[in-house]
């Protein structure tokens, strides 16, 4: 696993090896770092349509409405505080960790 701190005001997309995540919120208070892959056929949920009132994201590939509560169960552990966010990401297996395309160093012990 890797601990990554980033500025959520500038970055909303995090990639650890082959797995990628995006920041999502329906109320501006609680934020989730959700997997980008649709559980149906792997569509890019970060490009989908968020419907906060129904609590779903519509996948752009097959128009499936994926309940946020299902996605939140698999969300990466995340702490959001004023000005920064820290996530615990799965082991990238030697691959780099990137935030919005920029390579960053995970916290090293």
């Amino acid at each position: 696993m890797a601990v990554v701190t980033f500025d959520p005001g500038h970055a909303r997309f995090v990639k650890a090896g082959s797995r990628s995540f995006f920041l999502s919120t329906t109320d501006g208070r609680v934020f989730h770092l959700l997997r980008t892959t649709c559980p149906h056929r792997g569509g890019p949920l970060h490009l989908g349509q968020l419907d906060a009132s129904r609590g779903v994201i519509r996948c752009p590939w097959h128009d499936n409405d994926i309940p946020l509560r299902c996605l939140e169960r698999d969300a990466a552990p995340l702490v959001m505080r004023p000005g920064s966010a820290t996530a615990v990401l799965p082991d990238p297996g030697g691959e780099p960790i990137t935030v919005d395309g920029r390579l960053i160093l995970a916290t090293q012990r």
Binding site: V3, F31, H32, P77, R81, P82, A87, V88, T107, R109
Partner: protein, 480 residues
């Protein structure tokens, strides 16, 4: 297994006895009517832990109904809530004067009396929501936390702490124009908590919660010096205070606690007073015990640099050592077993407490630094006053102004303002106070800029003094 949470309080049906703000406001005013909380005529409260100036005559003008926003943490209303809440929390603790109890017996009876207890019980949850409700918005914990992700998260924090070479409080002291004053100010800020050390923690000793309870007790007995009074941590802190010429009786410097110092002290009571917040507390405890190791090492070095070899730094040396054990004990013997016993559903609470403690500590450090810088700049702020006053006189749109005429000895209990103010003397002499034993004398035609959120008070040193307080908002707009 994830835990099912109760709905947020704003999603539950309202109950008049619990949710009626007007009822709370009346109880708060009643609470403030005790003589114990009235204004006093001295800066220090000597050997009377029950007397705490709260400026209760202002209660009725303040709104505690909506939780503070993050940018309001250091406002006057927040300071008032902090002073009042700590007073209520500490009525759970045994506080006795060192001398002459007989003359203070009536104060003791009133402090612990039925009236204060009943009103305090009604007021406390409102003030807690007012002061700490913002944390729910400021800090969001989400995702699927597992034992291993939590371990990874905390271990990265421990590694970061081990690499840390800076201590913002030490830096503020060493870079001050008057390091000795800054160091004493720092010790005063810490005294509110350290002279009653582990009292909040002690709230967790009762009850029945298995092996965790015994682990908590082990930490507590370290704090209490194993029953040997001179090794009790608060005794060590008393020695530190006395070695630099400060009084060691709790709350002697009540008027000089910054809002953030009170806020942090209140926070530990907040998470310990209500045992529904126990898991948050062990997260906050882990953060405090871990963050304290390096901070105490740096404080011991800094105090020696500033005061020389005569300063007693055993308190800080003891913590730099024992908190290495406490950090490990909280993590290995409390957090990990708690997750094993109660499931991964408690992890977000633990992480929340950890983050909240860290966040409030950061606010306290910054507030201390800002107060030191402002107090150091007294001559500068005094120098600016005549020009700002002239610009106000010549301006068409004048800011709100209040005139005060006060007799010799009139003491204005310390407070803060929510925007910049200009204090300008029309006649007489005022001693404007920016900290314990730190002040600037203002004569007729002189004044000073009171920066937003900075703690200050005043005392009149002429037969009479007439002065104006202009609410200028942002002093810079009155400079040109």
């Amino acid at each position: 297994m994830q835990h099912k949470k109760r709905p947020r309080s704003d999603e539950r049906p309202k109950i008049p006895a619990v949710d009626d703000y007007d009822f709370f406001a009346r109880c708060l005013e009643e609470f403030g009517e005790s003589n114990l909380f009235a204004d006093i005529e001295t800066w220090l409260v000597e050997d009377n832990p029950y007397r705490r100036p709260l400026r209760p005559h202002v209660f009725k003008y303040l709104d505690f109904g909506k939780p503070l926003a993050r940018e309001e943490l250091l406002t006057y209303t927040s300071l008032t809530a902090c002073r009042t809440l700590l007073t209520i929390y500490e009525s759970d603790f045994i506080l006795l004067p060192r001398r002459d109890l007989a003359s203070k017996r009536a104060d003791l009876d009133e402090f612990y009396g039925r009236r204060a207890q009943v009103l305090g019980a009604i007021v406390r949850p409102w003030l807690e929501s007012y002061l700490f409700g913002f944390l729910d918005d400021a800090i969001s914990i989400s995702g699927r936390w597992t034992l291993s992700s939590m371990r990874e998260y905390f271990e990265s924090f421990v590694a970061e702490e081990r690499r840390r070479s800076d201590c913002s409080m030490a830096t503020a002291i060493l870079t001050s124009d008057n390091p000795q004053h800054a160091a004493r100010t720092c010790l005063v800020q810490l005294a509110g908590d350290f002279l009653l050390e582990s009292s909040a923690m002690g709230r967790n000793v009762g009850g029945s919660y298995g092996p965790l309870q015994s682990e908590m007790f082990k930490i507590l007995i370290d704090e209490l010096g194993y029953g040997v009074h001179r090794t009790r941590h608060s005794s060590l802190y008393e020695a530190t205070m006395e070695s630099v010429g400060l009084a060691s009786m709790p709350h002697t410097y009540w008027q000089f606690y910054l809002t953030s110092s009170l806020l942090l002290n209140n926070y530990y009571n907040y998470v310990c007073r209500n045992h529904g917040r126990f898991f948050r507390y062990i997260g906050a405890l882990f953060q405090a015990e871990t963050g304290f190791i390096e901070m105490c090492r740096r404080m011991a070095d800094t105090l020696r640099k500033v005061f020389g070899p005569g300063v007693d730094v055993r308190y800080f040396q003891e913590h730099a050592h024992i908190d290495q054990h406490h950090s490990r004990m909280v993590f290995d013997k409390m957090i990990l077993p708690a997750v094993e016993m109660f499931g991964e559903g408690i992890i977000p609470d633990i992480v929340r407490g950890f983050e909240e403690g860290k966040f409030l500590t950061g606010i306290a450090n910054q507030d201390f630094l800002d107060q030191v810088v402002w107090s150091d700049g007294s001559a500068h702020w005094k120098l600016l006053a005549p020009a700002i006053h002239r610009n106000i006189e010549q301006s068409r749109e004048k800011p709100k102004v209040q005139r005060f005429i006060e007799p010799r000895g009139e003491l204005s209990v310390t407070h803060v303002h929510d925007g910049d103010e200009l204090c300008f003397i029309q006649s007489g002499i005022m001693r404007f106070v920016t900290g314990h034993e730190r002040s600037v004398l203002l004569h007729a035609g002189e004044g000073t800029v009171i920066r937003r959120n900075r703690l200050h008070g005043a005392i009149i040193e002429s037969e009479e003094c007439t002065y104006d307080i202009h609410s200028i908002g942002d002093y810079e707009q009155w400079l040109s």
